[in-house]
Amino acid sequence: MRQTDLAIIGAGPAGLAAALEASRAGARVILLERDDWLGGQLVKQTHQFFGSKNEFAGMRGVDIATHFSEQIEKDENIQVFTGATALGFYEDGVLTAACAGRMIKIKPRTLLVASGAMEKMIPFENNDLPGVYGAGAVQTLMNVYGVAPGKKVLMVGAGNIGLIVSYQLIQAGIEVEAIIEGASHVGGYWVHASKIRRMGVPILTNHTILKARGQEKVEGALITRIDENWQPVPGEEREVSVDTVCLAVGLSPLAELLWQAGCEMEFSPQLGGYVPIRDSNLETTEEGIYIAGDVAGIEEATSAILEGQLAGISAARKMDYRIEEEKVEEIKANLETLRAGPVGEHIRQGLANVER
């Protein structure tokens, strides 16, 4: 059994930032990551980051991941396990993980779950055919391993992820037939949308997918215009010839471990699904269990980093390590700035219902 001050599940931006912050206060940290590398979603992101009010705005996600990993590797308080999947957290305070075919047991004084999110699915006929892929999967395949997901892609969803992944597909030499979006407007930033339109890819708003065609794999898709109640408009159906349907219809928090640990959960449409009830320091209803990043509510990388810092420093304070209170206030103020304005409105609404 390994003992530590803080065990962190997930080494995305939230987990990495938390590890550094807790270590700075003097806490010993064990960081568990299922992948063989650190960085989470950041590793797949080759575009320059959107968001302007932070030091990472102009950097590519993959470079931010490297920046953090280098600091973590040098840090003697932090012990990293990659290829290590956390399996469960039990009443006696023991965390188990599968690592290289073996089970490891850890008894941490505090726990941070920063496991991120998973892709959402939408209902349509044949949505289980090979060739219907999540946007994250497409990104992983092409940006991490250099394998093309297909030759011609239909993108479903015109939020930032749909737009960015479309752009990355084109960069990789893959054709994007169209981007369809159920809502009447593009959800992502206009800069991204106009860049893609200029490249000749139509963005069809008020459109959805009805069917994927094919027996053993995707060979086409049937799309249609929909009205404001999301009902198909008769006579507005259209076949598209594609071999890949990429779903970028949102993410939902990967919260199984929190359910299992007994944390009180609440459904929040604004935050992407079931999320844990938490206090202003990101501690859940189970004492000593903290959350940060997408698992606490779907947002973006900057907020994941800030939440990670907040959770890391709060866990350290809980264990009576000396921390600077000004730092806590500073992080909270930064989060508030980030969520200010119309773009952050749904996040503010969501948080109002789950913060106690």
């Binding site: 992948d35 080759t46 055919l129 090979p130 994250g136 992983t140 395949l141 391993y145």
Partner: protein
């Protein structure tokens, strides 16, 4: 299909390894997920669903959804989207929910 020219990314050459899929020999890069190597070889169907026998490929590629379970070196229920490829691996379709007793 491998992406060759990319304006931003470069993909490490990596060591080429041989593996078998359903008895045929293929090549891939050492350490990449088995699913990536299969996809490169044009193989999209990774399993058939146990009840309705529907073809399935990968979906999440991060080990969350269990859409990609295959038999690797005799062991069933391996998520090939997150299992690194090694020289000489034997990859097969899985029947139904997988039989542990079948492992050699």
């Amino acid at each position: 299909m491998r992406i060759k020219d990319h304006p931003i990314l470069s993909f490490p050459e990596g060591k080429t390894v041989e593996f078998s899929f359903e008895g045929k020999t293929f090549i891939g890069k050492e350490g990449e997920p088995i699913a990536a190597a299969l996809h490169d070889a044009g193989i999209r169907v990774l399993r058939h669903s146990p009840r309705h026998n529907r073809p399935r490929g990968f979906f999440c590629a991060i080990g969350n959804c269990s859409s990609c379970l295959m038999v690797v070196n005799g062991e069933p229920n391996v998520k090939v989207c997150v299992t690194p490829l090694r020289q000489g691996m034997k990859v097969e379709y899985q029947k139904g929910k997988g039989d542990i007793n079948a492992a050699d």
